[in-house]
């Protein structure tokens, strides 16, 4: 009898713990989502000096949007990074439709292939080759959509080439470009540039004076954009 009472008490404690844990997870996700990732206001300036500036010129990234947009958002990303994929698929369409197309922001993608990702160099080089043909963003979308295929198993070259075909890339030029490996040094420079900026993980976003490390929901990104570049009425 005493055992049954003790067991009942234990169930109550366990249930309270489960509910408290659930609430804690919800609060953690919610409160930090309000700040969107690890946010730093006025991050440390470029520490890489002239070399980093040269690297930035060698690989300035890929720009989407108007030159006259009031604000530029820089995204440091890795095509093999799952969090970048989630952002690209779930959030980026809203960003493009509601912030880039109306001319509120200009979006700059910077290559930051992480050292731990063995197929990133291949993917980023393929995107650069597609970029030669004005197909970077189409290839960008394809690489993220097919990430789970080329990032695992064999035949990554072939799988990425298939994605290039889907993106509408001319495969003759693409093959010549990938064989030449002409973007390897520039991609390495881009990675060094990102590291010099203090970027340690992907995705990282630099929105004016605000840096956000980690995924960011659309609402929070827009809130930062609104705070830095209010709409003029």
């Amino acid at each position: 009898m005493a055992g049954a009472v003790a067991l009942k008490r234990f169930y109550v404690i366990l249930a309270v713990l489960a509910v408290a844990g659930g609430v804690a997870i919800w609060q953690l996700g919610r409160s930090r989502a309000g700040q969107a990732g690890t946010v730093q206001v006025a991050p440390a300036p470029v520490t890489g000096g002239a070399g980093a500036a040269g690297a930035a010129e060698a690989m300035p990234g890929y720009v989407m949007g108007s030159d006259s947009a009031a604000l530029e958002v820089v995204e440091y990303a890795d095509f093999q990074c799952p969090a970048c994929r989630i952002f690209s698929i779930l959030t980026m369409p809203d960003v493009v439709e509601r912030l880039v197309r109306p001319g509120r922001i200009r979006w700059r993608f910077r290559d930051f292939p992480l050292p731990g990702h063995d197929r990133s160099p291949l993917a980023h080089h393929a995107a650069a080759c597609a970029g030669e043909q004005g197909k970077f963003w189409a290839m960008h979308d394809q690489l993220y959509a097919g990430q789970d295929q080329w990032a695992a198993g064999g035949g990554a070259d072939r799988k990425i080439r298939d994605l290039a075909r889907t993106a509408g890339v001319d495969l003759g030029q693409y093959d010549e470009c990938t064989r030449s490996r002409r973007y390897e040094a520039r991609l390495a420079a881009s990675r060094d540039f990102a590291a010099a900026q203090g970027v340690q993980s992907t995705p990282t976003f630099v929105i004016g004076s605000v840096r956000v490390s980690g995924t960011i929901p659309y609402d929070q990104l827009k809130a930062i954009v609104d705070s830095l570049a209010p709409i003029r009425r």
Binding site: I25, P82, A83
Partner: protein
């Protein structure tokens, strides 16, 4: 009871990591930023399944076995404790592999993963002690 409570804690930690990995949470509270590095690395998946999801499923199994072991019909039997020991043993081995990856390959530490490592080790030790308690001639505590 201790192992069951720990299993619930482990489940909550793994659930949190998996929810972030699945994009259901805005950002991870980590402190060092190492969680994001670890969670976005290629090692955050094992055979195509997110490691955090494997952890959540493992802890849930431990929770179920732990609760079953507390039922009067099972209280005197060694089966649930043996199963707890076996499951947590697999968990400890898998965690040792993941901790090695954090230290030697990814070179970043995820505090939640370390918390999980401590929890699974504690469950294993608790199960081991429980087995001694339920040894023939002894009664389960």
């Amino acid at each position: 009871m201790v192992a069951t409570t720990l299993a619930l804690l482990g489940f909550l930690v793994a659930l949190y990591l998996w929810m972030w990995k699945a994009g259901l949470l805005g950002a991870m509270v980590c402190g060092t930023g190492g969680c994001e590095v670890v969670q976005t690395s290629r090692y955050a998946e094992f055979l195509g399944v997110p490691v955090a999801l494997i952890g959540a499923a493992g802890y849930l199994s431990l929770l179920v076995v732990g609760l079953a072991g507390l039922q009067p019909a099972w209280l005197e039997r060694r089966g649930p404790t043996l199963l707890l020991l076996a499951l947590s043993g697999v968990g400890v081995a898998f965690t040792a592999y993941l901790t090695y990856l954090e230290a030697a390959v990814i070179r970043a530490w995820c505090r939640w993963c370390v918390a999980s490592a401590v929890i699974i080790t504690a469950i294993f030790i608790t199960a081991l002690l429980g087995l001694r308690e339920t040894a023939p001639g002894k009664r389960e505590a």
